[in-house]
């Protein structure tokens, strides 16, 4: 980089990224610096509002899973599982251990799918200095082939386990409508064993990438439990402490509507907090399996991690963890077989449907989806119809934290980086959170409001 006098960098900076790319959904980043003073720093979610929480009112509790999986195409399985857990809590249904095991397997494979999409397709182009994954097909062909193979494995997992990954079919209240075929499971198991090598290759790729240096300690919230690296179940923990039952989430954090965004913003004790891989790692890192801990070593990571850019590297650690956990479950399934008792119909049988006596009740379901803790909260009336619904989405919970990161980062960059560089830094920061904006409305454009006349490209 050519040496330039700091004076070249204006004290007025306006970032205005309209429609941030390589994220799921639509968002803007708007930053305004006047005379070196940050006057505006916003992450605006501009996706059209979806109104799921209103759409659910009046619908039968038995169709909540089908409906809410449509909140998001990437974490459709996560939404399904949070919804099923909430519905089961409201109805008083206990799933069998086997059903829970199959749910964990689906959740792990979805984590793998989403993390690979994020690492290779959304983040890697920035770190390799290109605009999308497409030029990498020419320049980094073996890497892209690895990525596609890893993606195919987790897609196939969705297909075998749930009929498809986008809007899963067979996972319903109480169990599965159909057991995965043995043939499919055998093939999937083989693909998982082969994926270990791709994981190692990916580790080498990530190790070589240079993540920006930036730190801001914050509150890290995730599920936590005593037995495992919590994904499917647990209590809510903040920085390893303050455990509270997931169903009491409203006592822990508050959601507020802000004017610049369609997504609600959440705070704990009036301060922003982070969810997602970085929070799970900071709270539960000690419970990662052996291979995942080796990946932690290899990548030089340490919990607690305060650099949000490293969320992407931690996602790879989680990928390794989820693969090994999945392999253990697959070996159990292939060894013991699955029980027909896990098979249920998607709704109660027609002849029973009108006889069921419903007690008005509420239920909360929380699972860790790729981007963080996801909550579905339903109240049902005496007809089994939903009278109240609330869905709390990881991206919304992260938005306040992302803005706080931006407020710390921008002044650190002023005088050192050009407007174009600051814009990219902010885009990369937002992307590192892996925002899912369809979910959040339940995104990203960077807007620097004052043009920088001497910006170097």
């Amino acid at each position: 980089m050519s040496k330039v006098s700091p004076k070249v960098y204006s004290k007025d900076v306006k970032v205005d990224v309209h429609y941030l790319t390589r994220v799921e959904g639509h968002g803007n980043i708007v930053v305004d610096v006047k005379n070196g003073k940050l006057t505006k720093c916003e992450f605006q979610v501009i996706e059209s509002p979806r109104f799921f929480e209103s759409m659910l009112v009046g619908r039968s509790i038995w169709e909540a899973q089908h409906l809410t999986s449509r909140i998001c195409g990437i974490c459709a399985c996560g939404h399904s599982l949070a919804s099923i857990k909430a519905a089961e809590a409201a109805l008083g249904v206990e799933p069998s251990d086997e059903a829970v095991m199959l749910r964990k397997l689906l959740l792990y494979t979805e984590q793998m799918d989403s993390h690979i999409l994020h690492i290779y397709f959304l983040v890697a182009p920035d770190l390799l200095g290109v605009k999308s994954v497409i030029p990498l097909i020419q320049t980094h062909r073996p890497v892209i082939e690895t990525a596609l193979r890893m993606k195919r494995m987790s897609d196939y997992a969705g297909e075998v386990l749930a009929g498809r990954h986008i809007h899963p079919i067979s996972y319903v209240i109480g169990g599965l409508t159909q057991l995965p075929s043995r043939e499919g499971l055998v093939k999937l198991y083989k693909m998982m064993l082969e994926a270990r090598k791709d994981g190692e290759e990916t580790l080498k790729v990530i190790k070589k990438l240079k993540f920006p240096k930036f730190e801001r300690p914050t509150q890290y919230m995730s599920l936590a439990n005593d037995t495992e690296y919590a994904m499917y179940d647990g209590d809510l923990a903040v920085n390893g402490r303050n455990k509270i039952k997931a169903k009491d989430y409203k006592k822990l954090f508050t959601e507020t509507v802000v004017e610049h965004s369609r997504a609600k913003i959440s705070t704990i004790n009036n301060k922003p907090y982070a969810v997602g891989a970085i929070s799970r790692f900071n709270n539960n890192g000690a419970k990662l399996n052996k291979k995942a801990k080796e990946a932690v070593q290899e990548l030089g990571l340490k919990a607690p991690c305060y650099n949000p850019y490293l969320n992407t590297a931690i996602q790879l650690v989680e990928w390794v963890h989820c693969l090994e956990e999945s392999i253990v479950i697959m070996e159990k399934i292939l060894g013991d077989g699955l029980s027909k008792k896990t098979v249920v119909s998607s709704w109660p049988k027609r002849s029973e449907l009108r006889k069921i006596k419903y007690k008005p009740n509420s239920g909360v379901g929380c699972v860790e989806v790729p981007r963080g803790s996801l909550f579905h909260d339903y109240t049902i009336n005496n007809k089994g119809n939903i009278s109240y619904a609330n869905c709390v989405i990881p991206t919304n919970q992260n938005m306040g934290n992302l803005e706080a990161d931006m407020r710390k980062l921008v002044p650190e960059l002023l005088g050192k980086r050009t407007q174009a560089q600051i814009t990219l830094d902010l885009e990369m920061l937002a992307r590192s959170y892996d925002p899912c904006i369809s979910c959040a409305t339940h995104l990203l454009d960077v807007k620097f409001v004052n043009g920088l006349p001497n910006a170097h490209h």
């Binding site: 429609y19 639509h26 039968s60 990437i74 459709a76 994954v133 990954h165 986008i166 098979v343 998607s346």
Partner: protein
């Protein structure tokens, strides 16, 4: 004649979950074949570059704000071919449920006292606003059908969406009828083309592909009566995906 350049393909999303675009990413080898035949110039979910120069627009999602209306009209002006991609774009999909409640109530429920800041209008499939050349139904779209439609599109042929019920495919797949299993199903009135995907996996049909042109309403009513169902029970299922084409099911069950 000049050597033909590859047609430029752009993806656009409106109110939806972006699962349809992800189905494209999940096409695997078919996707590698596709990029040989077309130039993908706009795919915000995967690319930072964006182009305003395109021939074919794949549009997913429903229209639900004033800005959406303006945007889809602009896309229609620029594109030679517009494809309604997925249930939200083609029939309104689950977004249509919003139309069953008043907009004011929906806004209040989700955004509370700040609800007046939210811009939203009645949910519409895109062909309620602009002319559409091809339709790919389904939530999510069925990959073999995506491939069929793209083939027709590139050859300049029409694609005919099946106009028979999911039951036809379901029988070919030798599934036991859900009604025989003491369950309910939208298969008898729903447009085929998905190879009875959900029933094959032990679930029922939810009607995500929309209704056939002439749903056999009398036949469906006979089935409902035979199995002791009340019309109101089944009407509820019609609103899961087909609420924004409300007049159609009202007609069928008048």
């Amino acid at each position: 004649m000049k050597k033909q350049a590859k047609p430029k393909l752009a993806f656009f999303d409106f109110t939806d979950c972006e699962g349809c675009q992800l189905q494209i990413v999940n096409m695997g080898n078919s996707l590698l074949e596709l990029v040989k035949l077309v130039d993908i110039v706009n795919f915000r979910e995967a690319m930072s570059e964006a182009s305003d120069d395109y021939d074919i627009a794949f549009v997913e999602g429903s229209i639900s704000t004033d800005n959406d209306v303006k945007r889809i009209k602009k896309i229609r002006e620029k594109a030679k071919v517009v494809v309604a991609f997925g249930a939200c774009a083609s029939i309104g999909g689950v977004n249509g449920i919003k139309n069953l409640h008043s907009l004011e109530l929906a806004k209040k429920r989700v955004y509370g006292e700040k609800s007046d800041k939210v811009n939203t209008i009645k949910v519409m499939p895109i062909q309620e606003v602009v002319k559409v050349d091809y339709v790919i139904n389904g939530c999510p779209p069925y990959i073999p059908e995506i491939v069929s439609v793209i083939k027709c599109l590139l050859l300049g042929k029409a694609y005919t969406v099946p106009n028979y019920a999911v039951c036809v495919e379901c029988k070919m797949n030798e599934n036991v009828c859900r009604y025989e299993k003491d369950e309910e199903c939208m298969g008898p009135v729903t447009r085929a083309g998905c190879n009875s995907w959900c029933v094959n996996n032990g679930n029922r049909c939810y009607g995500c592909r929309g209704l056939v042109d002439n749903p056999a309403s009398d036949g469906q009513k006979d089935i409902l009566l035979k199995y002791g169902l009340k019309l109101e029970d089944v009407l509820k299922h019609f609103t899961l995906y087909n609420a924004s084409s409300g007049d159609k099911y009202e007609q069928s069950f008048a």
